[in-house]
């Protein structure tokens, strides 16, 4: 049951991340390369999340579905990690965009304001 809660909490976050990437790509705000890598990143996270329960059991030498239930802390911690990755990745991209804008603005302003061009 708790494994289901884990999925219910995390799958929407990953789905939103994937939807955001597809939207950005369709609006031509990101390159095809960035689109592919971001899709691989989140698809991997989704697959790992879905497979985490059986993989954990197999790694502990048991059959795929015989381990103890996840604790509520496990669920909250995993959800927080997934949410943080989503937020950090989004903020990093926005930060890079803003840095580029600032750099380009500074560059253009410096050229335009140079003495000879003012005359």
């Amino acid at each position: 049951m708790r494994y289901i809660i884990l999925l219910l909490l995390n799958v929407p976050i990953i789905s939103i991340a994937i939807l955001n990437i597809i939207t950005k790509f369709k609006l031509r705000k990101i390159t095809k390369r960035r689109f592919k890598i971001q899709m691989i990143l989140w698809a991997t996270a989704l697959v790992l999340l879905i497979l985490s329960f059986p993989v954990y059991n197999i790694l502990n030498g048991g059959t795929p579905f015989d381990s103890a239930e996840l604790s509520l802390f496990d669920i909250m911690q995993t959800t927080a990690i997934v949410f943080l990755i989503y937020t950090v990745n989004d903020l990093r991209q926005k930060n890079e965009q803003n840095e580029k804008r600032l750099r380009d603005l500074h560059q253009e302003l410096s050229i335009i304001l140079s003495d000879d061009n003012k005359k």
Partner: protein, 235 residues
């Protein structure tokens, strides 16, 4: 400015007031003796001294950065100007006087005759006159550049570089400090631009020794390059 074989000499400068006038006069004299149409541009990167005034006295056009942004940004501004004005070539050189003017002209002529996109003046093909520490530091950074980005050059940190019009139009980088030297080579490789080198002499005066990159700064450069390489995996 659209004359055939016009060249823009870009000199990024920060607090170089004591030497910049001589550097500008020296390169102007050498260019006058050649058959090139040229403009000498000093990008004053928010200096606190009289770099801009001294550069103007030397006869250069000056672009003043409003904020101090680093060598990478100053170089980008200069090359952007060269691109906007339609120069056929641009060449960057250090403002501390470590590059010989004749090497600048040799570089331009070599770029013209070979039609290479990015020509680097390498101090490490002939290391005469360079201290062992400088040689070691620069070789180390060149090896790290090769390891991280797969670009094999002898002097990845050289400030003397010739850019074709094609490179001026397409080459961009993201870092703003000295690490831009390595990143630029990486971007050139990504764009399939041709890269080549030619030997130059570096003149290390007491002044240029104090102004040049400290070997400890290499650690910051490496950190920044590794970070950039990792971040770009997710882009």
């Amino acid at each position: 400015m659209s004359a055939v074989n016009s060249v823009c000499v870009v000199i990024p400068a920060y607090n170089e007031g004591s030497v910049i006038q001589d550097v500008v006069k020296d390169i102007t004299k050498e260019l006058k003796a050649s058959s090139l149409s040229y403009e000498v541009l000093v990008v004053n990167d928010g200096s606190k001294d009289d770099t801009a005034a001294q550069a103007k006295l030397g006869g250069a056009k000056v672009i003043n950065h409003i904020l101090n942004s680093g060598a990478g940004s100053a170089t980008a501004t200069g090359l952007s100007y060269a691109n906007q004005k339609g120069f056929d070539f641009a060449i960057t050189m250090d403002a501390d006087g470590q590059h010989l003017s004749k090497d600048v002209v040799v570089g331009i002529k070599k770029a013209q005759s070979t039609s290479v996109d990015l020509l680097i003046g390498s101090r490490l093909i002939d290391t005469t006159g360079m201290s062992r520490v400088k040689v070691l530091g620069n070789k180390g950074l060149s090896n790290i550049t090769k390891l991280l980005f797969g670009v094999n050059v002898t002097d990845s940190q050289s400030g003397l570089r010739v850019f074709s019009h094609n490179a001026l139009e397409s080459l961009r980088w993201k870092t703003s400090g000295y690490e831009f030297c390595s990143e630029m080579l990486w971007r050139a490789k990504q764009l399939n631009l041709s890269i080549s080198e030619y030997p130059i002499k570096a003149v290390y005066t007491e002044y240029s020794k104090t102004k040049g990159q400290n070997n400890w700064n290499a650690i910051n450069i490496v950190k920044s390059l590794v970070k950039r390489r990792i971040v770009e995996i997710f882009e």
